[in-house]
């Protein structure tokens, strides 16, 4: 018995001692500069390269790579090249910590954060710990840039909700509109809450929700919304396409669907013929994938030539801008003081430089907007457009 207990007591004691030493010493241990041996500037990112949200992750990765290639072809930053390292998080927050640590330990100096919001919340805090800068193309959660070294290229959810509410306040005062959102999704519920908060009391809403477990049969929800002439749907394009198909004969043909950036990609969804939907499909966006002029057109042509139209969406456009914005900011800092940027500088040093730029007078013009700037939190300041993906069908129906 003594022997027996002794073993366990020792084990526990050892553990306790370890624990105590651990607590005492945890303050020590310097932060290493993993970028000390870099020969290129390393940009990291994490996104859903596989799984249900892969269309976003792949678009971001392709576009960012395209931007990096262009920058490198043009000589990089003072001859130093850039490198993009993309990791797959499958839209799963639990995979982010590993992705982040691997990237960081392999010399990541600056990042595009994550593609989606859920994993982004994890990334945000991790990069606060190490003081790493991120400019996310599409993680639109309100909390993403708050109290972090982060900036968004996309509109924050709250902002989208507010813009959508403003639009509806102006155009539908005194009328009834429908709202269709996914109650267990931070993106959808986040926009909805801000939307609701900013909606004028003169507008009445009819609401229908769905959850993760119910993404195929929307007959009840359609029944609720069928008399609405304007349906606000801050959801992703997959359920939206199913909703529209199921609802096409039930909702009035002159009704209007209005979504946020998640609706992007609906026109190219596999097997989905958007023209079979009689209703108008529109969305709040900073990018028009049917653009025929300007920077957007140039981007679309390059992207489609390289990767095809399947993954063409605003997420990619936004990522393309992110890489250029980071490049421009680094370049601006370098031109102001050429000792401020070096290829072996730590992520933390680069973060300070970039933060100074983004919080300063730096502005950027690109595919998703002109004179884009950022407020002190990190929210983007640019014009939103209500972009009609597909106009209502002529009255043959």
């Amino acid at each position: 018995m003594k022997h027996n207990t002794f073993n366990k007591i020792t084990a526990v004691l050892m553990a306790v001692v370890m624990l105590a030493t651990g607590c005492l010493l945890s303050a020590c241990g310097g932060d290493k500069n993993y970028a000390a041996n870099n020969t290129e500037f390393v940009i990291g990112m994490s996104g859903p390269l596989t799984g249900g949200a892969a269309i976003y992750g792949v678009a971001v990765k392709n576009s960012a790579q395209m931007a990096v290639d262009e920058i490198n072809a043009a000589g990089g930053l003072n001859g130093v090249m850039f490198k993009l390292v993309a990791t797959d998080d499958m839209h799963d927050a639990t995979k982010v910590a590993t992705n982040y640590a691997n990237l960081y330990e392999n010399g990541m100096q600056v990042s595009l954060g994550t593609v989606t919001t859920k994993p982004g919340l994890e990334w945000k805090n991790l990069s606060v710990d190490d003081n790493v800068f991120f400019l996310t193309p599409s993680a639109s959660g309100d909390a993403i840039p708050a109290n972090a070294n982060g900036f968004q290229m996309c509109f924050a959810d709250g902002n989208q909700g507010k813009v959508a509410a403003d639009y509806i306040n102006q155009n539908f005062a005194g009328k009834t509109i429908g709202v269709f959102y996914k109650s267990d999704d931070p993106y959808s519920a986040g926009i909805y809450q801000q939307f609701k908060a900013n909606l004028s009391s003169s507008v009445t809403t009819v609401e229908a929700v769905f959850t993760d477990a119910n993404t195929t049969d929307f007959s009840t929800q359609i029944d609720t919304l069928k008399d609405c002439e304007f349906i606000f749907m801050p959801i992703y394009y997959q359920p939206a396409s199913i909703f529209m198909l199921q609802a096409k004969d039930k909702v009035a043909a002159n009704a209007v669907y209005y979504g946020c950036d998640g609706l992007d990609g609906i026109a190219s969804a596999e097997g989905f013929d958007i023209n079979s939907i009689p209703q108008e499909v529109s969305m709040l966006s900073h990018f028009d994938s049917n653009a025929t002029t300007g920077a957007a057109k140039e981007y679309i042509d390059k992207y489609v030539a390289k990767y095809g139209a399947d993954t063409l969406n605003q997420f990619g456009a936004s990522a393309y801008d992110c890489v250029y914005a980071i490049y421009n900011a680094m370049k601006a800092a370098y031109e102001a003081d050429n000792s401020s940027i070096s290829v072996t500088m730590s992520a933390s040093e680069l973060c300070e430089v970039l933060k100074a730029q983004f919080n300063g007078s730096f502005s950027y013009s690109g595919v998703t907007g002109q004179n884009i700037s950022w407020d002190s939190t990190g929210y983007v300041q640019k014009t939103a457009i209500r972009y009609v993906v597909k106009p209502a069908a002529s009255n043959e129906n």
């Binding site: 249900g52 109650s183 929700v209 119910n214 007959s219 039930k250 596999e270």
Partner: protein, 290 residues
């Protein structure tokens, strides 16, 4: 009128649940195992329809193909994964079934990718009865479910094979002694269950055209819940449970205040029913022989 529409929606969703639940309940009654992979057979049926419809454009052909593929798959799974475990602890069989479910899902993902596919089986439009407008596919679903159930009940009651199935589910050993080929009956059961799953896949796609590799997962769990609520092993119980669950789901989604809690409500109903009536509504009590 709203209520009537909701009720009809609920009935047609419930009909699909019932059809899946029938597969669960028959397999459970006869093979005494919980075929967790049953939901994924629906998914396989869905993808078969997707492929054949893409090749031929003929929905009838696609349905027939889906039924054949699902039957072959169901029987193969039974032979490879479940048969070696006949007589082993039910826990082992259940875990294997979970493994098969995962296997089917990941195979489908490798073959078809994870992006959602849109499959429009047949565009049938809507009909308006008074102030209620219902899509034809809902009515077809409802009609077919009723038909399938009637046929199945008659089959079980009046055919030799059907009666043999009842005998096997009552007492496998005695049935075997009576000269019934138990293995054959189990195979037939899996075949029928899988064919029903293929039909359920068809109706699912008719109702809602989105197809993903996890198509069968939630309906599978819900249908199993329905089977348990109705009393697992009981054919009318599966119908009752499925329709109850479908109606509850639709009503709950209709009421904005509780809509986000719909899943919780459905599962709570399951727990409450099991607490009040541990064998479900129509389940038989089994006395343990001591």
């Amino acid at each position: 009128m709203d209520f009537i529409t909701t009720l009809i929606n609920g009935l047609s969703l419930g009909g699909i649940y019932a059809m899946i639940a029938l597969g669960y309940t028959m397999v459970y009654g006869i093979a005494k195992m919980l075929n967790f992979a049953h939901g994924d057979i629906i998914m396989v049926g869905g993808y078969t329809i997707f492929v054949v419809l893409g090749l031929s454009g003929n929905p009838i052909l696609a349905t027939v193909a889906a039924i054949i593929v699902c039957v072959v798959l169901g029987v193969t799974i039974e032979k490879i994964a479940y048969k070696p475990l006949r007589g082993a602890s039910p826990l082992a069989v259940l875990i294997t079934a979970i493994g098969v479910s995962y296997l089917l899902q990941s195979l489908a993902q490798i073959i078809f990718g994870s992006a959602q596919k849109i499959v429009i089986v047949a565009d049938m439009g809507t009909v308006t009865l008074g102030s209620v407008s219902i899509s034809v596919s809902t009515l077809v679903t409802l009609g077919c479910t009723v038909l399938v159930m009637v046929v199945l009940t008659l089959f079980v009651k009046f055919t030799k094979t059907g009666r043999a199935m009842v005998a096997v589910s009552e007492d496998r050993g005695a049935a075997q002694l009576m000269g019934i080929n138990v293995n054959r009956i189990i195979t037939i059961t899996f075949a029928i269950g899988s064919a029903l799953a293929a039909l359920a896949g068809l109706f699912y796609l008719m109702k809602s055209p989105g197809l993903t590799t996890t198509l069968g997962a939630m309906p599978g769990i819900k249908a199993f819940t329905a089977a348990v609520i109705g009393g697992i092993g009981s054919v009318p119980g599966a119908m009752l449970g499925g329709i109850l669950l479908g109606v509850v789901e639709c009503i709950s989604y209709k009421i904005t205040a509780i809509a986000p809690y719909t899943d919780a409500i459905e599962f709570s109903i399951l727990i409450i029913i099991l607490l009040v009536k541990p064998t479900g509504f129509l389940g038989k009590k089994r006395r343990e022989k001591v």
